[in-house]
């Protein structure tokens, strides 16, 4: 029953030379020079990012941090980036924990999005100036009392959470890429070799190093996940819900974090599509990956509607005036068209397409639906943050912070030029950072691919051939 890995009689088993060939092939793809398309895209994105910075400067000069309503779009794009890019590494972490082999060719692509966490942190900093201290009397889970609780507690803790998430994300990427950086160190030249030497941190591939690397990778993954949930909780609890008087929704911090899982999956799906189509990884990213991710997208779409309905049903059925006003503000009032668009793009479209096997089992279906999900996620963040930041009263102790009246629901805030520039620039910046990082760190996890060679064998089984996958303890 027990089969030897190096069984020379079995032609289907890849031997050590296959492992070396795999390394050479993947290093060659990584080391090849940037194509015209890559450079052009990078230049365009850099241009858009600079325009975003200009838009940000214009906003500071024209509106200043005092006008909360004008910062809604900035808050929305910050939330969008943290909901998508910062959540994408979970696609690598969770399947790695359950030892799903299909993740191997996409795990690095997912993890690299953690680097974009730096942009999240930068985007978050202006919001510290926008959000007033707790002294305005708003509802807060810090239970503010003058003199007993520091009045800038939300600012400190949320910053620490996002900073912690960023640092953990960088550590995760580094820990995951250690063996590949060593490979790059030994097989490249020029600046890439210098960079790889520094990042490889003396990796030799001893048994002890492998043990420590895998152990720490597991711990960092678990902590990253917990920190992601914590960061979402802090953002929602301090920078979103208290801005709307009467918005008491115990589920919403979990919903916000959970939306991240769906959007993270969508982000990785689109990344996979581009890597397969233009990155040279056609042989590595195949139907298996798209189908598995498609299933996850379907499951998360169903969970999205369940989370949303769980909140909506309780608030709507209860019919408390303050809760009706919150629903009016966020769903059925001035932002109704956006809410409907969100519902269609994040639930209806993914659900009614991903239930079909042929769509899931294609290389175009899941990425196409992922685009719909990402558009919906951006609109969702706009609906929530722009609406919340437009409610008057925050920072003004004279206005009631505990109840919103339907008559006081503000009208929709239409974005101005600087808002559009900030949103487009931030998204362009996120993609640009990702693209640049892929030039330094191999976007395909080479050591995990080589490991798969050890755990995957084929053998004949009655009249067919089957694949046998090992799952190490």
């Amino acid at each position: 029953m027990t089969r030897e890995y190096q069984d020379s009689n079995d032609p289907t088993i890849r031997d050590l030379s296959a492992s070396s060939a795999l390394s050479r092939e993947l290093l060659a793809i990584h080391n090849r020079s940037c194509g015209t398309m890559f450079r052009t895209t990078a230049f365009v994105l850099a241009g858009l990012f600079i325009l975003g910075v200009i838009g940000f400067v214009v906003k500071i000069i024209t509106d200043g941090p005092e006008d909360k309503a004008s910062w809604g779009y900035h808050a929305a794009v910050f939330a969008f980036i943290i909901t998508t890019a910062s959540a994408a590494p979970i696609v690598a972490i969770a399947p790695r924990m359950v030892k799903a082999h299909w993740r191997r060719s996409i795990s690095r692509a997912a993890e690299l999005w953690a680097v974009v966490g730096v942009l999240s942190l930068v985007l978050f900093l202006p919001l510290l100036a926008v959000l007033p201290s707790l002294a305005d009397g708003r509802r807060t889970f810090w239970f503010y009392h003058p003199g007993e609780v520091p009045e800038f507690t939300p600012h400190v803790w949320t910053t620490l959470a996002i900073l912690g998430l960023t640092v953990l994300g960088l550590a995760l990427v580094w820990m995951s890429s250690l063996p590949d950086m060593a490979l790059l160190r030994d097989n490249s030249s020029g600046w890439k070799q210098g960079m790889a030497r520094r990042l490889a941190f003396g990796w030799k591939g001893t048994s002890r190093q492998w043990f420590i690397q895998k152990h720490r990778l597991g711990i960092l993954g678990a902590f990253y996940f917990m920190m992601l949930v914590f960061a979402h909780f802090m953002i929602v609890a301090d920078f979103l819900m208290p801005l709307v008087p009467g918005w008491i929704d115990a589920l919403f911090p979990a919903t916000h974090a959970f939306n991240g899982l769906q959007a993270g999956i969508a982000t990785v799906l689109i990344t996979m599509f581009f890597l397969r189509k233009y990155g040279g990884y056609r042989d590595y990213i195949g139907i298996d990956q798209f189908r598995s991710m498609g299933k996850l997208l379907l499951a998360t779409s169903l969970l999205w509607v369940w989370f949303w309905f769980s909140s909506f049903n309780v608030l709507w059925y209860g019919a408390k005036p303050s809760e009706q006003a919150v629903l009016e503000l966020l769903m059925v009032g001035p932002y109704l068209p956006i809410f409907l668009a969100v519902f269609v793009t994040v639930f209806i479209i993914p659900f009614f397409t991903m239930i079909w096997n042929p769509v899931r089992r294609s290389t175009w279906g899941p990425p196409l639906i992922a685009v719909s999900v990402l558009i919906g996620t951006l609109l969702d963040r706009v609906r929530l943050y722009v609406a919340a930041y437009s409610v008057p009263g925050i920072g003004d102790p004279k206005i009631d912070k505990h109840e919103l009246h339907i008559g006081d629901v503000p009208s929709a805030v239409i974005p101005n030029v600087s808002d559009v520039l900030i949103v487009v620039g931030a998204i362009a910046g996120a993609i640009l950072i990702y693209m640049l990082v892929t030039r330094i760190i191999p976007v395909m996890n080479i050591w995990e691919q080589k490991e798969l060679l050890l755990y995957k064998v084929h053998k004949s089984f009655h009249r067919t051939e089957v694949q046998i996958l090992g799952k190490p303890d």
């Binding site: 029953m1 027990t2 089969r3 030897e4 890995y5 509802r139 807060t140 889970f141 239970f143 949930v229 909780f233 008491i248 929704d249 115990a250 589920l251 919403f252 911090p253 979990a254 169903l302 369940w306 989370f307 769980s310 909140s311 049903n313 309780v314 608030l315 059925y317 209860g318 019919a319 408390k320 505990h402 050890l454 755990y455 064998v457 089984f461 089957v466 694949q467 046998i468 996958l469 090992g470 799952k471 190490p472 303890d473």
Partner: protein, 459 residues
Amino acid sequence: MQEHIQIDDNKQINNDLLSGVLSWPKWHLAAASFLALVIATGLGAYGWELNKGVGVAGINRPVYWGFYLANFVFWIGISHAGIMVSAILRLTQAEWRRPVTRAAEVLTLFSLLAALSNIFFHLGRPWRAFWIQPYDFARGIWPNVRSPFVWDPAAIGTYLIGSSLFVYVALLPDIAVIRDKSKGKVAKTVYGVLCLGWRGTPRQWKLQAVSGILLSALVLPVFVSVHSIVSWDFAVQIGVEGWHSTIFAPYFIIGAIHSGVSAVAMVMALMVWMWKGYDKYIRPDHFDAIGRLLIVVATTWFFFFALEFIYAIYTLEEPELALRELQVLQWPYGFLFIVFLLSSYFIPIPLWLFKNVRKSAKWMFWTTILVNIGMWLERFLIIIPGLARRQAFTFDWGTYHPSIIEILLVAETFAFVALGILVFSKVFPLVPLFDVKEGMVFRDEIKVGRITVPASIRE
């Protein structure tokens, strides 16, 4: 280290797993008699309640919902085990599910029936329970579809039908084996009818596999809807502080999974101890896998619990704060609250972090019993203090003391579920034969360097 026992002889698998069906384990009759006695006592108590009226129970103004409703929510929670372990693990192709799916599914069926019985215990005039059905259009009696109490029977009924089908479809190949192995004419005829002419043709296997996967996928939304609707019995109204919370649906679901999967682990331990030969199929690896799953489930549950509690205090509304004070700081609820937290999370989780604990049937048995004590108390602490708090415009602040009738009826539900599983195990195998055999065929090992790694066939 491989702890799996490879058995390639199908006859041996049949003999091992059908030992409970084709022969009488010695303890079987004694256990069944004891459980029947508890049930008879409970039914006697119910007869007394029917005769004297629901006033013999401890429920009163303003605590209208007591033990019965806490017990109802508890059993609905346990009933989620079958689908969690069976459907989700089947869809995700988790190999360790194979020997435990049947027991989990059967637990679902009897827990659902036990949950339903609590509703009848609670009704003042249970003979009018059928009014929930739109049975007579001419009289204009039409249930109010906007009421969660109408959503409940619809969801639970659908879940019961779906779960029964789920169990039955998975049973077909095993019933055919019993048909072929049973000696009596009556048994042969009954099993022959029940297996629907199963011969094990490729077409039959294909249809059985496809229907199993389809039912898994279809029953999952029902499983989510059932406990969501049970939670909305509480959450959609604003009259009781502490109940009107948006998080109730996911919080109830994850709590149900926590208690349900714990119950499955407990049943697994009992199967290993009580049925001869089952220990060859339910191995320490299976306890380890369910232990790992429980760590994730329990931690997610605790996150939702924390959110529910934090946002209750976040409101800063006086009735809500008063309720939380009653729930956490006042006797006896405060004491029960501490027991609930310790037993459902703070004792089992640190223990489950140790592999030796996870791999031990004994440890898993006792820790999962602790979880279910805690989860029963959780339901009690949600329902009773919520109603017992002092509130405006209520002349009666009566506290709640469960009567002996309620205690006997709660005990009856536990005995009913246990007896149900026992009777089922006498008629059908508690470990699915075909699934185990398939697992034996699919299992393999590969050697990587000096290590032997468990492996399985993937088509």
